[in-house]
């Protein structure tokens, strides 16, 4: 049985990014309906609230509520930002939305602009996906020529400009205030909150920031109604969600499923475990979220509340699968290096702590660990989390704490025996993949 989809169904991945193809699929009808019915900005926000759409970037904040924070009637420039700076290890859904369905994002942003009173929008696109950025620029041009962007859109009173901004390699710019600094032409270092972007955002003006997948869902919600969206998922977890499945599965890739679908179903869609091996561990929401043991994961449903109950978080929907050939020390070493490398250096606990975490895990992995290191790691992690301006500190701390919590014996074995529980040749064997056509 195939599951219902909103964002990825019926796309040929050849011409599906083109305006004509999008219109043939019913594209821009939601925007037209807003002006013809007509729907007020409050009506639009009410519909989005009803859908129970939660932010798809990682935090899961209710989108309708976020939109209602904008001081819509304040005169002057107001901004709407799409966060396509997708760089959380394991997450690769926005890239596929942008390369195969960019007009859904554009239409979602125009509707978002109308609802929040924004005058101008930017889509901040991850540096490493230049080809996707170029295509998005082309899609924007198509929308401008067709009158969906610019002054008096579709003959209405509403005007909205939209541009693409290309990042250049900084994970931290996925943090919304770092992203704003980056658009302003500065280092991407997060700002203190409050003030929140809705009152002091880009260039000090009211600003709303949402994820790519969040915006892409908006046209469907307006076109089909918030109730129908909610029904596709489950209470408090409306709609479908794209899960990026990576690691030890036969068919890594993006899979769109209704929220609340059992994890085992998702695993099956991704081709199951490589060579029929056993699931050892899974990070269900991107590398910043706590790892869960395989047996816990096998009993989870894929929605915000179920994953939270199991002790992790749905995050960005990046499901990293690790089978029994994985050395958990080596896996944590690589994750810790990522946060060390990507810390922006602004807050001392994160700047110094991420390096400290990496060095200690590194020495355990290389046979020079001490038993006291496990408590040391937990202590350093505890002293980073909650003591920094942004969540990168927490993101660096959570994997460390959860890896040690669930796999303490393996870490202890590594320290005592000065080598991996899993032989290196076996790790290499586990990482061999079938190379076929992309998704």
């Amino acid at each position: 049985m195939s599951l219902p989809t909103i964002l990825t169904g019926g796309l040929d991945r050849e011409s599906s990014w083109r305006l004509a193809d999008y219109e043939r699929r019913g594209g821009y009808q939601a925007l037209r309906a807003i002006f013809s019915r007509p729907l007020s900005p409050d009506d639009v926000i009410a519909e989005v609230k009803k859908s129970s759409l939660r932010g798809r970037g990682g935090a899961g904040f209710p989108t309708g509520l976020k939109w209602s924070f904008m001081p819509r009637n304040l005169p002057g420039e107001k901004y709407l930002i799409c966060n396509s700076d997708e760089g959380e290890p394991g997450t690769f859904k926005d890239r596929d939305i942008l390369r195969w369905n960019p007009h859904a994002v554009i239409e979602g942003m125009i509707i978002g602009g109308y609802a929040t009173g924004a005058t101008r929008g930017y889509n901040y696109i991850h540096g490493e996906i230049f080809e996707v950025y170029e295509r998005f620029e082309q899609a924007l041009e198509e929308a401008r020529v067709a009158g969906y962007l610019g002054k008096n859109i579709l003959g209405s009173e509403f005007s909205f400009e939209l541009f693409a901004h290309h990042g250049y390699g900084a994970y931290i710019c996925g943090e919304e205030t770092a992203l704003l600094e980056s658009i302003e032409g500065k280092k991407g270092q997060p700002r203190y909150k409050p003030p929140f972007p809705a009152s002091f955002g880009l260039y000090g003006r009211p600003t709303t920031i949402n994820n790519t997948e969040t915006f892409a869902n908006i046209p469907w919600i307006i076109g089909n109604g918030g109730d129908r969206f909610l029904e596709m998922g489950k209470a408090n977890n409306g709609g479908t969600k794209i899960f990026s499945v990576s690691g030890h599965v036969n068919r890594p890739g993006n899979y769109e499923i209704p929220l609340g679908t059992p994890f085992v179903k998702l695993l099956e869609m991704a081709g199951g475990m490589r060579a029929g091996r056993k699931l050892k561990a899974c990070i269900p929401g991107g590398s910043s979220m706590p790892v869960l043991p395989g047996d816990v994961m096998m009993n989870c449903d894929m929605d915000y509340d179920s994953i939270a109950k199991a002790g992790s978080a749905l995050g960005s929907g990046a499901v990293i699968i690790m089978d029994e050939t994985t050395c958990m020390v080596r896996a944590l070493e690589r994750l810790s290096y990522f946060y060390f490398e990507e810390s922006c250096g602004q807050c001392t606990p994160c700047r110094e702590g991420t390096g400290w975490l990496y060095r200690v895990v590194h020495r355990i992995e290389h046979g020079q660990g001490r038993q006291s290191d496990l408590d040391l790691l937990t202590s350093v992690a505890d002293n980073i989390a909650g003591r920094t301006i942004c969540a990168l500190g927490d993101a660096a701390a959570l994997p460390v704490k959860s890896f040690i919590q669930h796999f303490r014996d393996e870490f202890a074995y590594h320290i005592d025996n000065r080598r991996c529980l899993v032989p290196v040749e076996m790790q290499r064997e586990g990482s061999r993949i079938y190379v076929g056509e992309p998704w």
């Binding site: 290890p89 540096g127 230049f130 901004h165 390699g169 690691g247 030890h248 890594p252 990046a318 699968i321």
Partner: protein
Amino acid sequence: MLSPEALRRIDTEIAKYPADQKQSAVMAALAIAQQEKGWLAEDTMAFVADYLGMPQVAVLEVATFYNMYDLSPVGKSKLTICTGLPCALSGADEAADHLREKLGVGFSEVTADGSFMLKEGECMGACGDAPVLLVNNRRMCVRMNKERIDALLDELNS
């Protein structure tokens, strides 16, 4: 300093932002300058600063903060391979070893003939197509097993 074509592209970027916010185009301007010059020398950054009406130090801050800017020569082709956890679970370590062996250089080194630089990268947001490799910041190559790496190197060498 930069070609008329590069300046035209920078002007297009400047036009995306409010008239009093030219500095917002600095990331794009540096990327365009780097593409033309191969890497960002001090005088190139000074030119960009002048063109956008920014202090030179503000441009340097941006150039040193974002990973994809190169402040020293990188060779004809810069190959950045992601070795992050999801890529490592799908063969990135093997791919990186193969690249080091074929090119005879380690990470952040340029081959003696100046044709390649090998870099270790962080998440490129394409983990489903791991291992992932980026050529000169712009061209993404996916599912890079040994055979595909060999084919790419042959292509870039020819």
